[in-house]
């Protein structure tokens, strides 16, 4: 009781701290930690929502390993990452690098590039889905045929569909990356460039020798941020392929869509949980890679 009668300043502040943290701690335990544990547990169970949960050991993981659709989806997920990240990185750097040197209508141009970031992925998926239609209704194919070119199968193709679905995702994320790159570029002290100019170093050398090395933290941040985004792609795919989600022939199906279908169309909750564990491990690996690359900076 003594503790409560004459608390020292420290004790009083500690009590305040725990008061402030009480509700958040409950929240994090109930809404983050417990569900995380539950997902792991569920991945070792068989459960279809209707019957009681049943422990099945590694069965879900074995099934996953032997499931050709899973491997197809696994490859797709990395295809989104490996196509999306470099393209958006190069494009956004290119734009930021040049935009940094433009004064006239600077704010307006920046706004043009940034606007797509403010859109809803679902709405844009439908807009792009319309653009991709074959003639006579699709914008792109109408444009092509008005110039006398033959039409391209954007979504109804096992090779073109994935890049087509990815395009609006790259497009929408570009503005954010440009802004981050601009912040990185502006953080480089002008004296570096001054020195380079005095030494008569050419523009390209300045880029390779000064700008890019100094931008390393920015680049790593953007790579990780966009990689995680592409690995978790769902909204665009689901909305652009509603007739045959992730199709045709699973050509566009990413991991999150597989998880959604397994859990909420086939009610195979345990199997879906095992898939989420795989997603977790992939994202964990990406984050650890970031920490490894950035280790000398902290």
């Amino acid at each position: 009781m003594g503790l409560f009668h004459n608390p020292t300043v420290e004790q009083r502040r500690t009590r305040w701290a725990w008061t402030f943290l009480a509700l958040p701690i409950v929240f994090y335990v109930v809404v983050r930690f417990w569900p995380t544990a539950d997902a792991f547990v569920l991945s070792f169970e068989k459960w279809n929502l209707l019957k009681p949960r049943e422990f099945v050991g590694w069965k879900n993981y074995v099934e996953l390993w032997n499931d050709p659709v899973f491997w197809k989806v696994f490859r797709n997920t990395f295809a989104y990452l490996l196509i999306g990240t470099p393209i958006s990185l190069v494009l956004s750097f290119f734009v930021a690098w040049h935009l940094d040197k433009v004064r006239f209508m600077h704010g307006t141009i920046r706004a043009l590039y940034f606007l797509p970031f403010m859109t809803s992925a679902v709405a844009m998926a439908w807009v792009w889905r319309w653009f991709y239609q074959p003639v006579p209704i699709g914008l792109f194919n109408n444009l092509l045929s008005s110039f006398g070119f033959s039409q391209i199968k954007f979504l109804a193709s096992t090779t073109n569909a994935l890049p087509s679905v990815l395009a609006p995702a790259i497009w929408a994320g570009l503005g954010f990356q440009i802004i981050i790159f601009m912040a990185g570029l502006r953080a480089i002290p002008g004296s570096y460039y001054e020195a380079a100019r005095i030494d008569g170093v050419s523009g390209l050398t300045v880029l390779w020798e000064i700008t890019l090395p100094l931008l390393k933290p920015t680049i790593v941040f953007i790579v990780v941020f966009s990689s995680i985004g592409f690995l978790r792609i769902f909204d665009q795919v689901f909305n652009m392929t509603t007739n045959d989600p992730g199709g045709p022939l699973n050509a566009t199906k990413p991991l999150v869509l597989l998880i959604y279908q397994t859990a909420f169309a086939s009610y195979d909750m345990g199997y879906a949980a095992a898939q989420t564990v795989v997603l977790f491990l992939i994202l964990l690996a990406v984050s650890l890679l970031q920490l490894y690359i950035m280790r000398d900076r902290v």
Binding site: L42, H98, K101, M118, V127, W130, L279
Partner: protein, 293 residues
């Protein structure tokens, strides 16, 4: 460790136009401007085309003219005349607003506590909260769904909102910004007899307003466009948010692309307008949140 002012500095640097053109009047400079501007137009072209289509009658919808020959508001009347749309709009607005306010309150309270209080277990709690950043929401949707089913949260506002009421991202962001609030200020308030809650609320919070604004933008936009969880947790059409409703609407209407485009435009316009009004403010927020998020 004073990340706040540094970040704000970086953000303000982004907002400024470049100091001076390095080589004025150089032909390359004109080319550069033209290319950038053309690229910018391409970036907004899908949005412009969406808007253009939303003002067209179906007979000229597939023509390649940007300006409708016979512009009409009929599509908007039809879409907004669908009572579901206003409902979804209201749902999204309500949900995004409540979740944003909850994040502003709790994330900054927790960030502040972890930053300015010294007590046993502090580091543990900080690391625990931070570690949740590693867990993708996609992994949690199944347990959340099971939980919502058990507690009767399916198909309710609370069911849509509860997972996002606090975020580790926001907590971390706010903690970084509270580092820049000098302890002397707080100590002075303490001597004046304010209790710890009052100190946080009326002394510390006003000093991190830019950070709160950045957080608000991100949380609001994130909830306005959120799709996967609302799709899973809602049942009835009345409880849908704008993205989930738009998907349903588009599937129903997909013969009438002008209606789909109008629906998409209505779902997108609020955030676009907000951006055009608060551009500087939002870009600064993006830089601050992006650099320390």
């Amino acid at each position: 460790m004073t990340a706040g002012p540094v970040l704000k500095g970086a953000a303000d640097r982004v907002l400024a136009a470049p100091a001076a053109p390095r080589r004025k009047g150089h032909p390359g400079a004109y080319l550069r401007w033209l290319l950038l501007f053309a690229g910018g137009l391409i970036m907004v072209a899908p949005l412009v085309w969406m808007l253009s289509a939303s003002f067209k009658f179906s007979y000229e919808l597939y023509d390649l003219n940007l300006i409708p020959v016979e512009p009409t508001l009929r599509n908007y009347e039809k879409v907004l005349g669908d009572p579901r749309f206003l409902r979804w709009f209201g749902n999204s607005f309500l949900i995004a607003t409540i979740v944003t306010m909850s994040n502003l309150f709790f994330d900054s309270l927790v960030g502040y506590t972890l930053c300015k209080f010294r007590f046993p277990g502090r580091t543990l709690i900080f690391i625990a909260i931070l570690s949740t950043l590693m867990i993708p929401t996609e992994m949690l949707v199944i347990p959340w769904y099971v939980m919502s089913q058990k507690f009767g949260w399916l198909d309710s506002y609370w069911g849509i909102m509860f997972p996002g009421m606090m975020t580790a991202f926001g907590t971390f962001l706010m903690k970084q910004f509270f580092e820049s609030v000098p302890d002397d200020f707080l100590e002075a308030a303490r001597i004046d007899g304010l209790n710890e809650f009052q100190i946080w609320w009326s002394v510390a919070m006003p000093l991190v307003r830019p950070a709160l604004a950045a957080l608000a933008i991100f949380v609001f936009l994130g909830n306005w466009t959120a799709f996967l969880w609302p799709l899973i947790v809602t049942n009835s059409v009345e409880m849908y948010t704008i993205p989930v409703g738009l998907k349903t609407f588009a599937v129903e209407q997909n013969v009438d692309w002008e209606m789909v485009m109008t629906g998409a435009a209505i779902a997108t316009l609020p955030t676009l307008v907000i951006f055009l009004i608060f551009q500087r403010f939002i870009i600064r927020g993006v830089v601050m949140a992006g650099l320390k998020g």
